[in-house]
């Protein structure tokens, strides 16, 4: 696929080569543990740790080309295990670590499915990984499960356990965001990753003095690529927290950016609204965000109000107006397709005629403030092409809304062990994203999704999964539930709304119990809480001519009955 694009100059042939070339004394990872504790590892420390992991994996029989699953908490130990696997030429894949919210049976089911598809030679968990989940890891006769040490080696001989790789060898597998068990493994070569990073570093004008702040999970492309692999290859310092620590103490992000003078960070849209509303105004002056030259809004539709509320809240903290940027990215393209700010300034905005947008799918411009505002996700990176097509697949001109197709020199070759899914998404070299958007003056505006996907805090949720959970409750009529996303401007993200028909009208007397049971099951399986569950009598849900629930018509009926859902 890379052949049709002009060659791009990459600084290294493979990712291990990049790590081994790093300046040994330069800090690589600072991990925030709590208010009183941080740990910093230099590139030298990290390389020795990775090397020790490689030696250990080799003793356990891991060799070039084998897949290895890593299920460890966010931190340097996980990163060292990942890099250690790559030193051996093995292919690591990070899976989400279980949280207390997850119901063991559901987690086991998802883990069994994903691990079976990866057919890993080695599964690596940390010392605290709950034993109750271990039996669910799908192990073949040839595979083995081990526990990795969470502390760096106290001694080392300095030798490197390296099995050379070629640029087009597989480097790692990252999973596209999605419900556990349905996640698709995106297999990426060293060359694809390095080409993507070359384009991204060019767009962001990466310099050695840059420092990244990150709380995003490393099993997500935004955390893995932008906040681990990018700094590893370009030898940058990254200051990191776990997502749960950030949620409980959002101000700690601002403290760390201030303390370490971080220059780059990536966040989903909701994080901007969350920070603006949860960090008290009197606390804002104590932070110094003037070092941030790009805080990039990515992985959810970019909302003007979230950008504006964050900018207003943190201008007293020295935030530069041009720091708020945007990007369109996906695991299938390694990471970014487009990036704003490539020509300086803030992301472009356009105000459109809402009625024409709804009826004709054309973004007709109106005066500022006279219609919905869309924020651009920037222009395509070099060697990345975006095309907008109609439902028939015909190319559409500027301002016409259609499906976003992507072609690049960092595109996946296929989903790991899933040729069926690959052929659905990759056609004639174009990746069919399922996202909707339009182009205007080379700027890409992402407007929504063709698929009925709900994005909650950057996490993709399929409505069918929510509906299946509802169907499993005995009081719910099988096949009579509809889930959809409802945007909450206060949170800056969508929330799940579920409407379900009960079997008998008398079931409505137990609404509270049914609500609680379904709510708990959704959290246990999907890791997010629904905003609202509406239980309705039989025959309430609108059906299509084929007799199936009609999602959009049911949504409109519910919104008409419950206008409060539209307001927030």
């Amino acid at each position: 696929m890379a052949a049709r694009f002009p060659p791009v100059r990459v600084p290294f042939a493979t990712l291990p080569e990049a790590l081994l070339a790093a300046p040994q004394e330069k800090p690589f990872v600072t991990m925030w543990i709590d208010d009183d504790d941080e740990q910093t590892f230099t590139f030298g420390d990290f390389t020795r740790w990775s090397n020790a992991q490689a030696a250990s994996f080799k003793e356990h029989g891991l060799s070039k080309g084998d897949t290895v699953i890593l299920i460890m908490p966010q931190g340097a130990a996980l990163m060292a295990a990942f890099a250690g696997a790559m030193l051996l030429g093995a292919v690591p894949a990070i899976l989400a670590y279980p949280t207390f919210k997850v119901e063991p049976a559901k987690y086991r089911f998802g883990l069994a499915g994903v691990s079976a598809n990866l057919n890993a030679k080695l599964v690596v968990v940390d010392e605290s990984f709950p034993a109750e989940f271990l039996e669910s890891v799908s192990l073949s006769d040839q595979s083995k499960l081990i526990r990795a040490h969470s502390a760096p080696p106290t001694s080392g001989n300095g030798g490197v356990t390296l099995i050379p790789s070629e640029p087009e060898d597989l480097a790692f597998i990252q999973h596209s965001a999605g419900t556990t068990g349905l996640q698709k493994g995106v297999a990426l070569s060293h060359g694809a990753v390095l080409r993507q990073l070359a384009h991204l570093s060019h767009a962001l004008q990466i310099r050695p003095s840059d420092r990244i702040y990150n709380w995003l999970p490393l099993y997500h492309d935004m955390g893995l690529i932008a906040c681990f692999i990018l700094p590893m290859v370009y030898h940058l310092h990254v200051v990191m927290q776990s997502p749960t620590d950030w949620v409980l103490q959002p101000g700690s992000m601002l403290h760390l950016v201030s303390k370490y003078k971080c220059t780059l960070s990536w966040v989903p849209n909701f994080a901007l609204s969350f920070l603006a509303s949860r960090v008290k105004s009197k606390a804002r002056k104590k932070y110094d965000l003037s070092s941030l030259r790009a805080l990039i809004n990515c992985s959810e539709p970019v909302r003007a109000e979230s950008m504006d509320s964050f900018a207003a809240a943190f201008s007293p903290s020295g935030l530069q107006p041009t720091a708020l940027q945007s990007s369109y990215a996906m695991a299938e393209n390694v990471f970014a397709v487009s990036q704003s700010g490539m020509n300086g300034g803030m992301p472009a905005r356009t105000w459109i005629d809402g009625a024409k947008y709804q009826s004709e799918r054309i973004a007709v411009p109106v005066e500022k403030g006279r219609g919905p505002c869309f924020v651009s996700s920037g222009q395509s990176l070099p060697n990345n092409e975006v095309r907008i097509v109609s439902e028939k697949g015909d190319a559409l001109p500027d301002r016409h809304v259609g499906e976003i197709l992507i072609r690049s020199d960092s595109m996946l070759d296929g989903y790991y062990n899933r040729p069926d899914l690959t052929s659905l998404s990759l056609r004639d070299g174009w990746y069919w994203s399922g996202d909707l958007g339009f182009l205007l003056d080379r700027e890409l505006y992402v407007t929504g999704r063709k698929k009925d996907l709900i994005i909650v805090g950057g996490k993709n949720i399929y409505p069918q999964d929510v509906e299946e959970i509802a169907f499993s409750h005995p009081a719910i009529h099988d096949g009579r539930a509809v889930a959809f996303g409802c945007y909450n401007a206060d949170l800056g993200t969508e929330e799940i709304v579920l409407v379900a028909e009960v079997e008998e009208p008398s079931n409505l007397e137990s609404s509270s119990d049914i609500d609680r049971a379904i709510r708990g099951a959704i959290v246990a399986e999907l890791g997010v809480a629904p905003r609202a569950i509406y239980l309705k009598p039989p025959r309430w849900i609108v059906k299509s001519t084929a007799g199936k629930p009609a999602r959009s018509a049911t949504r409109e009926k519910l919104l008409a009955e419950h206008p409060e859902l539209r307001i927030s």
Partner: protein, 84 residues
């Protein structure tokens, strides 16, 4: 203790859950049951500090320590420092 617990329960019902008819006890799972989401924990933590008159270092707290009102109060006792 009972008074602190009731204050927290009242706050969570009125300000976080906002659904009529929800009955909470000191041992009702909150986050793991989906009654509240993780993003609300920062508000609940603030209220916990106010009710117990302590300063609770959030970095010493995990979401699982906040899953019930009883766990919250025990967490405040364990890591909370009296407010000056």
């Amino acid at each position: 203790m009972a008074d602190f617990a009731q204050q927290l329960i009242d706050y969570i019902c009125k300000e976080i859950i906002r659904q009529p008819g929800v009955q909470l006890g000191v041992d009702t799972p909150l986050v793991s049951s989906g009654l509240i989401d993780s993003f609300s924990l920062v508000d609940v933590l603030s209220k916990l500090e106010e009710v117990t008159a302590t300063r609770i270092p959030a970095g010493k707290v995990q979401p699982k320590d906040m899953d019930t009102v009883r766990l919250m109060l025990s967490t405040a006792q364990r890591v909370g420092k009296p407010r000056k």
